[in-house]
Structure formats: C-alpha cells, structure tokens
C-alpha cells in the first residue's frame, strides 16, 4: 500500500521533510500501525511521535485517530496542535 504523508510546522522541521510517499509493509493497516512503523525508524521519529508528545493526525484532510484504517492512495498528515487565529 502506498500513502502520502505530510508533516507540518514543528514536526516538518524536526523530520527535515514536508512529505514522503513510502511503500508500506503489508502489516500496516491502520493509522496506529503507521505511527508504529514511523517510530521504528528511531531518532527524531521515535522521539517526536513518542509517548507524552502532543500531535494530531488527519486522513484525507479529516482529523483521525489511530483506529482509522488506511487505504491505498490516502493522504495522511501528522502535525502539532493548531495555533492559528
């Protein structure tokens, strides 16, 4: 399965990239699985997405939780709590 992952603000800077389109292994079925897969990269990935860190996720531009199932071609986003207005 291929998804596009977008990163914003503090996370974009920490990861040093604004987006990627990885080919995911077959055992990544949900957003929670994707987070585990990203954390397994270690370093800033494990740190920024680790326990106690505040971040939000969206799938196809709707806020989503770890239980949401991913589909091929989904646009996933991971970003800090919002601070506009």
């Amino acid at each position: 399965m291929n998804v596009r992952i977008l990163y914003f603000a503090r996370l974009r800077e920490a990861f040093g990239t604004s987006q990627e389109a990885p080919a995911l292994p077959a055992d990544v079925a949900t957003l929670g699985d994707l987070l585990d897969w990203l954390r397994a990269r270690g370093g800033v990935w494990a740190e920024q997405l680790g326990p106690g860190r505040a971040y939000r996720m969206a799938v196809n531009q709707d806020v989503a939780g770890p239980e949401v199932r991913l589909q091929d071609g989904d646009e996933v986003a991971i970003f800090p709590p919002v601070t506009g207005g």
């Binding site: 531009q61 800090p80 919002v82 601070t83 506009g84």
Partner: protein, 155 residues
Amino acid sequence: MKIAVQTEPFDLAAEVEALYHDHPQVGAVASFLGITRDRNDGEGVAAMTLEHYPGMTERALERIVAEARSRWDLLDATVIHRVGALKPTDPIVLVAVAAAHRGEAFAACEFIMDYLKTRAPFWKKEATADGERWVDARESDDNAAARWVNRLAKP
C-alpha cells in the same frame, strides 16, 4: 458564505459591507479581528510566520461555519485567515457573521473563533530576540471551545 486563506491583507469594511449592503433583512453583524501582537508569553515578538495545511484548512473552516449555521439562525458569514509573514499590528483573521438579531451574530462569531483556534490547521512561528519559536497550543483555547459542546445557544 465566504472562506478564504490568503497571504494578502483583507479589507474589513468591504467584507462587512458585503454581508449587509444588499440584504435588508440583516440587522446585526458581529465581527472579530485577530491582530499580531508585539508580545506573547512575556517575550517580545518582532515578526511571525503562519503555516497552514492547504485544502484541509478550507475544509475545516467550512465545517466550522456550517456547524455555526446549524446552531444559530444566521444570514451569512465570512472567515478570512492570513498565512505567511506577519508583523505586529497586522490583522491575522477576520470572522464576520450577519443575522437578523444580535444574540445570534455574537454567539456564532465567538463560536467560529473558538473552533477555528482549536480545529483549523494553522501554526504560528514567532521571531523573538532569542530566535524563532513555534507557538504552543493553549489550554485556555481548548476550554473556550469546550464551552460550546453542551450548549446549543446562548444562555
């Protein structure tokens, strides 16, 4: 309904006038202007950059306004949010709501701002004397938005 995310300044008078000029059933326009301050959390702020998530931002703002229209009897609403580089005294956001009566206009305008602050994907980065820093989300904004959850209209 008008939703815009833009780098350019907006024209407050023109935006508000568009809500009532040809609409003689409008008796009230409540509006809110959010402005870049020169201090935040006790530190001087020389400039600010606003990042957003194109596509999702507009979608989130449309939903917030639709939710406001389902809660109150509104005639029209406009939300304009700027992104990019801003300096102190630059307007950041305009929310303007037209209704027949003031209670609806005030409530919906404040509701839209409270939800925008907690649900629309914008992020502020401030330039201070110590360098740049991302603004942290505020618990007070979560509390402000939470006030509306069990409240269909003003008390």
